[in-house]
Symmetry: C2
Subunit: 413 residues, 2 copies
């Protein structure tokens, strides 16, 4: 059961001019579910993305990188995204690469573009061959359904262990021009994006040059999808893609120094954070949504190190599941985070507004009932003040419950 997942009205989602979406039920792993998504992009758009750092990256990730490099190098621009669920096409060696290329070629044939203009994405079980013939057989259905209003169905089509479709949309005004941002994401387990299987696709109708879009995607990913973890397992297939369709009346954004860039970046960051947080809210077995904020560190990296130590600790996560303020587990995680010269006597630990620990131990005013009160909430902020600098980092994560074990002990069967 997802944690405070907002209800989404499909009618509230803004179509992005220049972008159409269509799905198919291709029977890739289970019958009667949407498992193929095509996103088609009109000519004139720019596309950029960031991908998993996992060395066993999936075949489609390799092909995406190749095709994006070709597009950046001036060859034909990206015109379509092809996503399948039910199979990750990872740990599949050379045959997996051939399947990824074959799927691009088939979609390209249907859309009358080149294979290198297609970016392929897969999510599902690793180490099993992609059912390429069934995938290809589903493409005509997907292409026939292409339409601008299909964002909600697109979010459904990329779900695996997700219990709810993840989609967000907004419009903003930049310099008197309306700009639209709409995106979808998926993911619930194997989530520790180090841009998990986490997929995020956002489109805007703004016009953005390729180098500026490349910077924008990295900036936004670092402030959104790279700030979440469910189980600490970085997937083989993580991908975050931004499509800029260039249909807005806003003049093309050519510099990261412009006011329009900053306005778009801030709006896109907010939208991507929403999509990333939806993944955590729907984290496998999650019953609580936790924000881990580490402040006053010497560097963002060390703040993130402490935040991840907390976010990945099974003992911390089970204590939150139990609503048990066994908060010494938080101190233990801070202590083993790997900061060799950390002075623990200076650290302050807060649970929401409750000061728990200070001067190396439990704060004298801390009362168990205050901790208990916060632990019973479904949304909790853990705040750690390192008192050694000005850097800070935020991580969004969830608890570890019986359902996480059930979901992952039964996933394939």
């Amino acid at each position: 059961m997802a944690v405070n997942f907002p209800s989404i009205d499909p009618a509230s989602l803004h179509p992005v001019p220049g972008v159409t979406l269509g799905w198919a039920e291709a029977n890739l792993r289970k019958p009667n579910r949407k498992d193929v998504l095509v996103i088609a992009v009109d000519d004139g758009a720019t596309v950029s993305g960031v991908f998993t750092t996992n060395r066993f990256c999936a075949a489609p990730v390799t092909v995406c990188r190749e095709h994006l490099a070709l597009a950046r190098g001036g060859a034909a621009p990206i015109r379509a995204l092809l996503v399948n669920t039910g199979n990750a096409n990872a740990g599949t060696g050379e045959p997996g690469l051939a399947h990824a290329r074959d799927s691009c070629a088939e979609l390209a044939r249907l859309l009358r573009i080149d294979a290198q203009q297609v970016l392929p994405f897969s999510t599902g079980v690793i180490l099993e061959p992609l059912p390429i013939e069934r995938l290809k057989a589903g493409l005509p259905q997907a292409v026939a359904q292409l339409a601008p209003a299909h964002w909600y169905e697109a979010a459904q089509a990329i779900m695996t262990t997700d219990t709810l479709p993840k989609v967000a949309s907004r419009q903003l005004d930049i310099d008197g021009h309306t700009v639209t941002l709409t995106g979808i994401s998926k993911g619930a387990g194997m989530i520790k994006p180090d841009m998990a299987t986490m997929l995020g696709f956002v489109a805007t109708d703004a016009a953005i040059t390729q180098p500026v879009l490349d910077t924008l995607v990295k900036d936004v990913a670092d402030q959104s999808f790279n700030c979440i973890t469910v189980d600490g397992d970085t997937s083989t297939n993580d991908s975050f893609i931004v499509v800029a369709s260039a249909r807005s009346t806003l003049p093309v954004i050519t510099s990261t120094q412009s006011a329009a860039y900053r306005a778009l970046r801030d709006a896109l960051t907010q939208l991507a954070q929403t999509l990333a947080q939806l993944i955590v809210r729907d984290g496998e077995g999650a019953t609580k949504f936790m924000t881990v904020r580490v402040e006053a560190g010497r560097s963002v990296d060390e703040c993130r190190q402490v935040a991840y130590a907390i976010g990945h600790s099974p003992l911390v996560k089970t204590a939150f599941y139990a609503c048990d303020p066994n908060l010494g587990r938080l101190l233990a995680a801070i202590g083993y985070a790997g900061i060799a010269d950390l002075d623990v006597s200076r650290i302050e630990l807060y649970l929401d507004d409750v000061l728990v620990a200070k001067a190396g131990g439990r704060h004298p005013d801390y009362r168990e009932e205050d901790g208990q009160r916060v632990m019973k909430q479904s949304e909790i902020t853990i705040r750690v003040c390192l008192a050694r600098g000005d850097a800070q980092a935020t991580l969004w994560t969830c608890d570890l419950s019986h359902d996480y074990v059930s979901i992952n002990a039964d996933y394939r069967s």
Copy 2:
């Protein structure tokens, strides 16, 4: 339920001349259980230890380091170990340090030695004040029970979430002299020793000079307690201590280059590995004992990095709990272990004798039923060949089950 835990006959444990053990029921957290242990060491012994690297190390760890430094500096030698369960005396600031010192002073008074000749150890809940008065009140009972034959009861006295006492003993012949080795350990959760709450105490009657013993303890810890993980949480209280009582007829060991040193080191390593593996076999909720062996790496460090990525992955651990050969999760963990230039096309992955993956993907001869057969065993070896060097490392770990969540969601209540 522990995994293939050997049955231990208390009568088979060899007393170590010069070492006596006594316990008390001090009611520190729960009534009617042994929760205080005193190990007394006759004059003439050397003692060494290694401790947690957690920056939030417990007050007794700090005091142990001080007292061992004093002993090494030529002050009075260590003559007693004092262990309590039910409370970790960690995250307790200055009052915690005062409590640890106070407990040493009280035991010293009863044994007519100096406070600095006592090493204190605590394990249990973090961030709560040590019930020092109850602990002190239990000491006369423990001292009154001191006897050489109490190793089994000593192992019981240091249990927390452990379901079984952990003890091992052996005698060997070195150069015609009989040498005895007997030790105890505890730990089941918060186990990723980077010396978890893991305590290990081993005594031998060999005579070993202090510098040689210091080297011996580090060598042995690196090959035993530092090769296990249950949940990746490095405790605030981990300690591994070796007492050399110097009562054997074997001449004093003064060099790490001697045949006697190597014989003792090998025997001690084997004993410590047994004690460390008992912790994993009794890991919280464990249903399987897994050996992760990473071979042909460039360095021991990178082999350990890959082994820990596998051993800590909740997805890998739940798949093993389910007996589900969802082995792509192993590839994902290898891929995100952090070896930037890892060539995944050269990696081989074996489950016991079954070759699962090769050339970046599933081996053509791999059959799911072979993987399934191995997954159903209670003891499994995961072997990864990195094919890039001569280094290797072994890690012992367990699966992640519903019981792990239950145990840790309910631990304090």
